[in-house]
Each structure stands twice: as C-alpha cells, then as structure tokens.
Amino acid sequence: MTCREAQARLTAYLDGELDGSTASAIRGHLRVCDDCRHAAEDHAAIRDSLAGLARPEPPPAIWDGVMAKLGEAEIADSRRSRWSRLLHRLRPHLLPASLAVGACAAAAVIVHVRQDEPRRAAPQAVAPIDPAERGATDLVPPPAPPPIPPVTRDATIELAAETERIDARYREVAADLLGQAREQLGEKSAARRRFDREVAGLERAVLAAPAGKARDRAWHALITFLERAAIGELVAQVRR
C-alpha cells in the first residue's frame, strides 16, 4: 500500500468503515510510515476532540422567542388575503406542480414535432405523380393529415385547419396558372413533357415542405414558374 492509498482511506479507516483486510493493510502501512501515522494520529485527535466537545446549553429564552415568533406569524396569516393564504399553503406543492406542467408542455411539443415528420416523408408515401396522366385540375393533392393524438388535439386541429386554408388558396391559383401554361404548350410535345417534369418536381417540393414558411416558399417557387409559363415567357425558352 502506498502513502497516497493509505491517506485516501484514512477517514474511512478511522470511522471503522473498511473491511478487515483493508484495515489490516492500513495498520501495516501506519506501522512503517511515520508521515502517514502522524496524519492518522492527527485525524484521530481531531475526530476525538470534536466528539468530546460539550454541547452548549440552549438559553431558556429560546422557547419564549419561538412562541412569540409563532404568534407574530399567525397574526400575519390573519391579515393575509384568502388567495395569499392559499398560495402560502400550496407553496410546497408549487414546484412539483410547475415541473409537471413543464413536462406536459415539453411532451406536447415533442408530439407536435413528430407528427410533422410524416409530412416530410409524404412524397415516398403518396402515389407517384405522372404528369402525362394528370389533368389541369388535379394539381398537388392535399397531404393526408396525420392522426392527431388526443393530448394535443385542440391546438393541432386549429393549426391544421389554418394550413389547409392556406394550401387551398395556393392550389386554386396554381391550378388556374397550370391550365393557362398548358394551353400555351400544347398537348404532345417535348417542351410539354419537360414542363410537366419541372412542375412535378416543384409539386414534390411543396408536398415535402413542412407547414409554415418552408411550404410557403415552395408554393411561391411553383406559382412563379407557372406564372412565367402562363404568360408565354418561358414557352419560347422551353421550345428552344
């Protein structure tokens, strides 16, 4: 046993917390090491001196002081409003309660974030878009709303309805522009196929974007493209 090992276990040794073999090894080390033995003697002297200190006698006035302070506290209680008394009584439970509320809020946020994830994966889940088979009015089928857990139902129903309204407005504008652009391009041409592929890519971006700013940006990209096509600016380029 080294001095470092012995000194690290000194308190445990002096308090009788070591097993027999370790205590024996410590005792063996103390027999041959003056420094560690002195340290052990000092620690033991400190421990014994502290244990031997007499407890100071409490002055008799303490009890009177306690009763006086309790009386003052009760008078203060009587002057408190009903709500203040209730708050005071509930104070020990407020921290656990606030922690519980915080945990519920955190759980609701996590559930909400997770329920957005299926929308991001939606392009793989929905049927593949075939531009050739699609008519002018079937632009961007609305993403299937994910199931709403009961815990967050109230908040998420409202949010989903608002997203649905925004998507419907964009879809209406885009369908109108798409019809005009297709009129410009004709039915069967290489330009029409390239155009349809481009539109399909932009639609997938709309479907993949989570509700909010990202989806707004995707809608804007699609509508800008359709606007240019509809007014014929793009038609010439595509034909070239």
Partner: protein, 220 residues
C-alpha cells in the same frame, strides 16, 4: 519512510470505539404521535418536541453560525418546524427533518451575513469557547477556533458527523447529497482542520512545543 516496523503493541490510531453521541434512531420514541399532536396545535406536544430537539438544534446552530446568532437562528428553526409540521408526511425521520431545517437555516443565515459583509473570522475566534470535556482543554479550544475558520460546508459535515455523531447516511439525508459526497467532504474537512491545527497537533503528539503564544490563544 523508516524501514523498522513498529511493535505490534504500539498504540496506533484506530477506528472509533465509542457509540455515536446522538444517533437519530435512538432518540426517537414515538415521533408519529408527537407530530400528530403538534399538527393539532397541542401546546404540550409542541413543548415536548422542542425539549427533545433543543440541545441538538441549538448546538448545531452554535457551531455553524457562532454563539452570537445561535439563539436567533435556533428560534427560527423551531418556528419553521412548527409551521412546517403540517406538511411533514413522515417520508424521513422527524430528527432528520429537524436537522435538515436547522442546517438549511444556519447556512442561509451565514449566506445572508456574508452578502452583507458582516461575518469576520477574527471576531468569531475571539468568542469564548463553550465548556469542553476532552483530554486536553488546550487542544479542544484550538479545535473550536479552527472549526469556526472552516468554510460553512465543511463545518456542517463535521458538526453533523463528528460532533453530533450521525451516520453518513443520516448526514447525506440532511445535507441532501450522496453518501459518497458526504464521506469525501468529511475527509477534506478533517484535512483542512489538520492544516489549521498543525502546530497544536504536533504538540499533542509530543513532537514539538506548541509555543507560548498559541498557549495564550488557547487560554482565551
């Protein structure tokens, strides 16, 4: 390191052989009945609880905050005890709970004093030590003085474990820490005490004279 082994009969420092001074478990007779009576506001029960814990609470406050504020802090502890008994559900022992309130009140008081810049180690050291009952009164007086110079956390663990004689498990419950932390704090606190008491301990061992001025200090 000397190579000559000491004789087997030599008096080596060893584990504590005395029973703890005041184990919480031994002091408690029927806490639940006492608590129930106090919760009903029975004056005699409150007085009984006060007398059961007054020495321990006052002693702890005396050691941690010093004698001048001990009475005030002890009063606050008992006020907190009686006003908090309504919320005491018996999850811990009554003694542990009372000690915890006392340690918290004492450390909070010290913290307030420190923030106000009122605490002074020199001032504390000049206060007369309470009567002692150990082998060497001079060493005991120095131990008292060194105890007051320790950081409050070290003082609390030394008071609970070495003076009050509580187990590490009880200390950990009172200080709201792990048993391992408690043991490590105790080791560091004793090492710090040894550092502060260096010459006096050497004199106790008979290796060096403690010196005239330290004797005079001890006599104070």
């Amino acid at each position: 390191m000397p190579t000559i082994a000491r004789a087997v009969t030599d008096d080596l420092p060893g584990p504590r052989t005395l029973a703890p001074a005041a184990a919480l478990t031994a002091a408690v007779t029927d806490d639940s009945a006492l608590v129930a009576a106090c919760q009903r506001g029975e004056r005699r029960a409150m007085e009984a609880l006060y007398h059961q814990y007054k020495r321990r609470v006052f002693g702890l406050c005396h050691r941690i905050v010093g004698p001048s504020d001990a009475e005030e802090v002890a009063q606050d502890v008992f006020v907190r005890v009686f006003r908090g008994l309504g919320n005491f559900r018996g999850d811990s022992q009554l003694g542990t709970w009372v000690y915890r309130l006392a340690v918290n009140a004492a450390l909070t008081h010290l913290g307030k004093q420190k923030r106000r810049g009122e605490v002074s180690d020199d001032e504390l050291e000049q206060v007369a030590a309470p009567p002692t009952a150990v082998r060497d009164p001079r060493l005991s007086a120095r131990v008292e003085a060194a105890l007051r110079r320790l950081p409050a956390g070290y003082r609390a663990i030394l008071v609970l474990h070495d003076i009050e004689g509580l187990s590490h498990e009880e200390c950990a419950a009172i200080l709201d820490c792990r048993v391992g932390t408690c043991k490590s704090q105790l080791h560091k606190a004793r090492a710090k005490m040894r550092e502060l008491l260096g010459p006096a301990l050497a004199a106790e061992r008979g290796l060096a004279p403690a010196g005239r001025d330290t004797d005079e200090e001890a006599a104070r």
